[in-house]
């Protein structure tokens, strides 16, 4: 069993030190609740994967490639710490066989709740420049269907 909570908030202010707030956009956290994973033992790593490092190395087939540890991806979070912009190309249930492509500039965050790997095409990340990009990726998924 793994319980996942993802929280997002936007703080907007008129001064750079955030002392004069214009507003706070606070999204109620998404909570996955309990999920039963087949088998026992090291349950959690099969439900949640955290990657920190070179973002392009993530796309070399693990963990979402041909030897995927997931059968279903429920949510994917990508944070690009730069320096290059990265593009992520992925399929979704909503878009069928077509691919979504998003640019994620340095510093930006993407939270994607509809990543479909059942067609055998894992998300692919590539950088726009010669320096590459580091950052963090969370993958929440399931090993059953």
């Amino acid at each position: 069993m793994a319980f996942v909570k993802v929280d997002v908030s936007i703080l907007a202010a008129s001064l750079a030190d955030y002392s004069q707030l214009l507003g706070v956009f606070d999204v109620d956290p998404y909570e996955s609740g309990a999920k039963q994973v087949p088998g026992s033992g090291s349950v959690l790593p099969k439900e949640v994967f955290h990657w920190k490092g070179n973002l392009e190395n993530f796309a070399q087939g693990y963990p979402l490639g041909s030897t995927s540890m997931f059968s279903t991806v429920t949510t994917m979070i990508i944070k690009n710490d730069g320096p290059d912009t990265i593009s992520v190309m992925y399929q979704t249930a909503a878009n069928g066989v077509n691919f979504n492509i998003l640019n994620i500039a340095e510093g930006k965050i993407a939270i994607l709740p509809d990543v479909d790997i059942t067609g055998g095409n894992p998300p692919f990340l590539g950088s726009s420049g010669g320096e590459g990009a580091t950052g963090e990726i969370f993958v929440f998924g399931r090993t059953d269907t």
Partner: protein, 130 residues
């Protein structure tokens, strides 16, 4: 045009316990900070028909957050991006889930939402240049 200083924070907690005690992961990502010209948020109903969400008051969008407040239906979001040029991107946002997009083309004719089984309430936040 005044400047809006915005900070976007994302936190992730993973625990074997329903009260999130003794977490295996408790991580706040480095915030995304941006100086924009505009920040707006909306509470909006998405019907089961495809409807256009107008955000053409923005010339560029730095970040778009959409939360599906519905408990049982998903919402399909269609939008264009710099990465995908004139091809549509499509996402389903499941009940209670949210979508954070760093790459949205603010064209009034290419940004739509459609609920699956019944109308859903969406909470939408937009940071961008006006």
């Amino acid at each position: 045009m005044s400047t809006v200083y915005a900070k976007v924070k994302v936190g992730v907690v993973v625990s074997p316990n329903s009260d999130y005690s003794d977490p295996d992961v408790d991580r706040d990502l480095d915030p995304y900070e941006v100086q924009s010209e505009g920040f707006e948020w909306f509470r909006r109903e998405a019907s089961t028909s495809s409807e256009t969400f107008v955000c053409s008051q923005f010339s560029t969008i730095d970040l778009l957050v959409i939360k599906n407040e519905d408990a049982s239906n998903y919402v399909t979001i269609t939008h264009r991006s710099a990465g995908n040029s004139s091809t549509d991107n499509k996402h389903r946002i499941g009940p209670g889930k949210f979508l954070v997009l760093p790459d949205v083309t603010p064209s009034a004719t290419t940004f739509t939402h459609q609920a699956s089984g019944a109308a859903c309430i969406l909470k939408i936040g937009v940071l961008g240049e006006t």
